[in-house]
Assembly symmetry: C2
Homo-oligomer: 213 residues x 2
Amino acid sequence: MARKTKAEAAATREALLDAAEDMFMEHGVARTSLEQIARQAGMTRGAVYWHFKNKGDMFRAMLERVHMPFQDLVDEIEALEHDVSSLEAIRLACLQGLERFEQHPRARRVHAILVHRCEFFSDIDPIAMQQEIADECRDSLYQHLLISQQQQMLADDLTPEVATDLLQSMLSGLFHEWIRDPDRFSIYDRGVPLVNQLIGMMHRSTPAARADR
Amino acid sequence: MARKTKAEAAATREALLDAAEDMFMEHGVARTSLEQIARQAGMTRGAVYWHFKNKGDMFRAMLERVHMPFQDLVDEIEALEHDVSSLEAIRLACLQGLERFEQHPRARRVHAILVHRCEFFSDIDPIAMQQEIADECRDSLYQHLLISQQQQMLADDLTPEVATDLLQSMLSGLFHEWIRDPDRFSIYDRGVPLVNQLIGMMHRSTPAARADR
DNA sequence: TGTTTTACATTCAATTGTGTATGGAAACGC
DNA sequence: GCGTTTCCATACACAATTGAATGTAAAACA
């Protein structure tokens, strides 16, 4: 076969990853062969083995295309905390995260694959990856809820530990319910009232809890 | 090979399912061959193909050994609702559910396999199964939270819809965090304060929210 | 412009898993 | 007690993938 331009080669690499996403999503990771991926991209397995070491390497590359923006959210909290209260910053960061999930279809698909379309294989451990993401999110929430408590924002009977577990569990559950079938409902539309309500209930006895629904 | 007694045959069937659980849990469903399962049980594939049609049939049989006791929980709510308030009945049913998860290691393992160790194959769709379980739980919660609202138990700014989403998301998230690595923490120990806190916050302005931790 | 490297396609060897067919001895029904 | 059925082991044929080896024409480079 004729050699391609560097730009063309990069394009086929992207096309292969796109095809991998398609086939992984449709048939699951284990049930899709490298030939199916190659044919979906209009190539042969030769192209796949040129750009990637094997299926595991391809999977890893697919994940690396969607950078997990959790640290970005933390940074946004940080930037906001100078203007608004810490609890309010957390609330806005959660809403921002929901919105982001909704608006990046590639990130949505890759997360769906990671959670529901693959079991571990070769040296890929999706559960460990999910663990890592969840822990990162959890630690971040805890740090900021600790600040909220120090600022006397949390309700009397609410410890930052329980508050963290509550928020993290709720967000995690919402995510899992949604990612199971993202077309069933909008994670943003369902999530906004939940976040507002829960954060509102966490506030220190401000009877006029705001639930803008 | 010599024919076995009916009791012995039933025992090997159970042994095969035990072995399947072990291997599915350890290597994932897709990566375990029927021969691995047979050898783990001290048998050959002949035994497997005698008792089951194929891997999918075996998987289904494995799931059928653990009856999902969600309707039992609903019934327990029903039985309790004559004595205590509806919200209190929901709270107790949630705690009961957590306890049950903790205490049945087989159910725990099978759920872990269903969620994290398999993608769909042949005519098995684990996501649809999880969907079914979640919907059943959600519907049940909603029905009873509707009663709570009619009994004027819910906080003014809390609709039964949002309350349902909150509780269900929180429970689902807690479950997913736990099932990812059940040895990391006790779902009961972490769940009890969460349920108590959340249900407590849902109550209609009873300032003395109870958080027994 | 000539040489080297790149970006694939094609082919091949080897492995792995599946489903089925066959066999055999003991348990079961009568 | 005898035929039949059951429970499982063994053997075989078949398809599906994989990884690597080889081929090749054009791009990149000097």
